[in-house]
Symmetry: C2
Subunit: 213 residues, 2 copies
């Protein structure tokens, strides 16, 4: 398998975690987002959305990180990234989607470029935007993880799931933008337990071949 | 089952379509988004994210429209809303996520309120924002549906899937904001074939009990 991604891309990071949790070997091809390589005709031929990640599995091209991770879970079931029972599966998916639909899309590169380029917002207002959506999303995540019976050492139970594949990259991003995370102790406990595992460490941005140190 | 939603909420509309496709009876409880009912302590007790929809299935509370639809598909398998084969499932999920992660989150009520309230953008700039993300997302959707072998009468094959549950509400929204949809003939063909079906019509905003006519 070959993963087209970028070391700092949260969505690529999610898929790297899933591949590592499954113990699957993969090549990486770096797509240089800062210089706009994802907008090239060559890359758009792989993904008309001009977004990373793209997973090439024997010539089949897969896009959208959550769809890729569900595919990996269906084709390589062990260890499972979703629990077996439907309500538990729905819980894990809803936690993953809280991050993937309600936090990350508002703060990705193309949105921040629109804020600075088209709307001419200064850095202070861009940072306020960023932190607003992080705070809103993580406050809800904290309440859910603190109050729902399904929470364990990880977002759900005693093993990492799809929910953790999404949460960990979001916390990396929040830290990079200087967000105050002290109000989310349960979230941060889950994050720390994930990052104590080699498979998460190996997936981290600065441990990728294309990382700028 | 009881669905907490709002007639104009795209995410509620997705779940109404799925429930209708499955032939499941459900009660509706309207959450008045314009007056902020979703922010009340009572509603936050159901969903700390203060978002609709919430599905109550025998006392179990489910959030996030895509997680709810996957749950319905797992617990009521006929007719399936995802194909059987993993690559085809990944395709349907990636089309659904294109809408759910890359178009809708940028244009929902809370974001439009931030643009007008905090950023003090006038109506012209808010509409430009709205149409920018619609055009970017639907252009990619059009390329995918036009070029990928999986496309049939519907987004995938000859039966409606999760991808159509997401696409149709997004087109309703785009029309409501006056977006020009002439550049997306393949997308609009799928939309028209969906809307020719009673189950989609019955789910439409103006056919809900809480619709303002």
């Amino acid at each position: 398998m070959k993963l087209y991604g970028y070391f700092r891309s949260s969505a690529s990071f999610r898929v790297r975690i899933a591949l590592n949790l499954k113990g699957l070997a993969f090549e990486q091809e770096s797509v240089q987002l800062p210089s706009g390589q994802q907008l090239s005709p060559e890359f758009r031929a792989l993904n008309p959305q001009a977004l990373v990640p793209v997973l090439d599995d024997g010539g089949a091209l897969l896009t959208q990180s959550l769809a890729i991770i569900e595919y990996l879970d269906e084709t390589h079931p062990q260890p499972p990234l979703l629990p077996a029972e439907p309500l538990a599966r729905a819980r894990v998916r809803s936690l993953a989607l809280l991050t993937a639909c309600d936090i990350h899309p508002l703060n990705n590169l193309k949105v921040l470029k629109y804020l600075s380029g088209t709307l001419k917002l200064d850095e202070a207002r861009r940072n306020a935007w960023y932190r607003h959506w992080i705070a809103e999303g993580l406050s809800a995540m904290e309440k859910r993880l603190a109050n729902e019976a399904g929470t364990g050492e990880f977002s759900h139970g005693a093993q990492p799931t799809l929910a953790d594949c999404c949460l960990v990259p979001q916390i990396f991003n929040a830290k990079r933008y200087g967000c105050d995370l002290a109000s989310y102790p349960v979230v941060m406990g889950v994050f720390e337990r994930c990052m104590a595992l080699d498979v998460f460490q190996k997936a981290a941005p600065l441990n990728q071949p294309d990382a700028e140190n």
